[in-house]
Amino acid sequence: MKQGYFTVLTNEKLTSNVYKMTLAGDTKAIERPGQFVNIQIDGLFLRRPISVCDLEDGKLTIIYKVVGKGTEKMSAMDGGEILDILTGLGNGYFTDFAGDKPLLIGGGVGVPPLYYLAKCLLKEGKTPTVILGFNTASEIFYKDEFEDLGIKTIVCTADGSVGVKGFVTDGVDQVGEYTHVYTCGPEPMLKAVYNKTTSDGSYSFEERMGCGFGACMGCSCKTKYGNKRICKDGPVLQKEEIIW
């Protein structure tokens, strides 16, 4: 974990309530995909934990949905703001588990961390496939970005307006063999993926956090390997340890 000051470079609306922000600052503490950052916002007591969507030397990309006061304030930023951010939080996704053909499954704002993961997996010579789940056409984001990486991208919409009609689990039927599942999304989706897929998997969970770095025990959960803190021992849990 490292505390640092980041400058907002861009803040762009992707859908009616989802934004993409790029920031410049010291990103050295970020060790792997699936980790998150915790952002201090003027006038609010707790920081806002947001997953890392992309990372290049000194440049951080996050994608967030406006759900409350903090993300609303973030959505109003137009560049130049300086933010106090803790980076390198959480365990993240380990690419060692991937095998040759990892399957990445994201739902809604669970999609962003899979983008940096996909880039890391490609760099290691793996052949990832990605399934992106949204409610409807107007909520889709990052489809083109995944396709531009040259990886097979399956989009599922609940109303069938784009791609496969149904949930991400319906997308799984379109995929052949896969060696490991990396997933992030709302808990009902994670549970459906857990029941549908047959391989091992890395599941990224969300919980209301206090500190985000393991001190307060605000986001604890039970696993087969004992109590874990979603912020520090997670947010990624392995399939075999999950207790629903």
């Binding site: 974990m1 490292k2 505390q3 201090q40 609010l44 007591f45 707790l46 920081r47 803790l86 919980e207 209301r208 956090m209 206090g210 500190c211 770095f213 393991g214 001190a215 307060c216 025990m217 605000g218 986001c219 604890s220 959960c221 039970k222 109590n227």
Partner: protein, 304 residues
Amino acid sequence: MVNTRVNLCGVELKNPVVPASGTFGFGYEFNDIYDINVLGGISIKGTTKDARFGNPTPRIAECTSGLINSIGLQNPGIEKVINEEIPKLRSVYNNVIISNISGFSIDEYKYCCEKINAVKDVDIIEVNISCPNVHNGGMSFGTSPENAQAVTKAVKSVTDKPVFIKLTPNVTDIVSIAKACEEGGADGISLINTSQGLRIDLNKRRPVIANKIGGFSGRAIFPIALKMVYQVYEAVKIPIIGIGGVATAEDVIEMMMAGATAVQVGAENLVNPYACRDIVNNLPRVMQKYKINDLNEIIGEAHK
């Protein structure tokens, strides 16, 4: 050179800044981000006889200048704390260790204090009779002078380490409870624990926290804590550790002027993990600004 050293019942702290129990884990985790040997002491995560998972999540609700928590004393149990956590802390840290103890019966408090009494690395025992987040325990011992005194007497009978009783602000008369603890043999008083609070999610139209009501802490409660330290200082002769909303070196000085000998920093650690280090670093400069050469001179000075 200013003097920041203070003394709690014969235990010397190189400065009065102590992270509060429940906001700093078992301390050693923070050594990864700064040298925790700058701290005067550390009050480690509250410990019970048996391991506890604590309350269901969500356990956290944000408030203006603070937060409500409902952790429910999650901890690995007294044996593991003694055999694993305290040795891990001691391996990276040389200063004062305050072991925070909770229970669901007087026997449990006694059991834990007896165990901790045998741990050489622990300098002070802090007895939490003020947790608002567990039923039939914690705070129920801290809301009547009789019960508070009974716990104090029980734990004092099994330990020769200094015992600080940690009090809840959720009472009508904190002074009578502090006095009852002093009469029961307490060596000091820690105050305050969190104040009970509630938030409701407007979308869900239900309380944010699974347990509904939790403990409110953070900068917002500083004046409440300060007032209680001020009142208790007038009523007891034993030292006070002032807790509640402390976030700056100025707050430390204000708390000491109200009557605290040392100060604990809680919620601020959760938003600024470097909070205690920053306060320690700023303290000498702020002392100079207010022409304070020795912190011991200002303890309770606001009463004069």
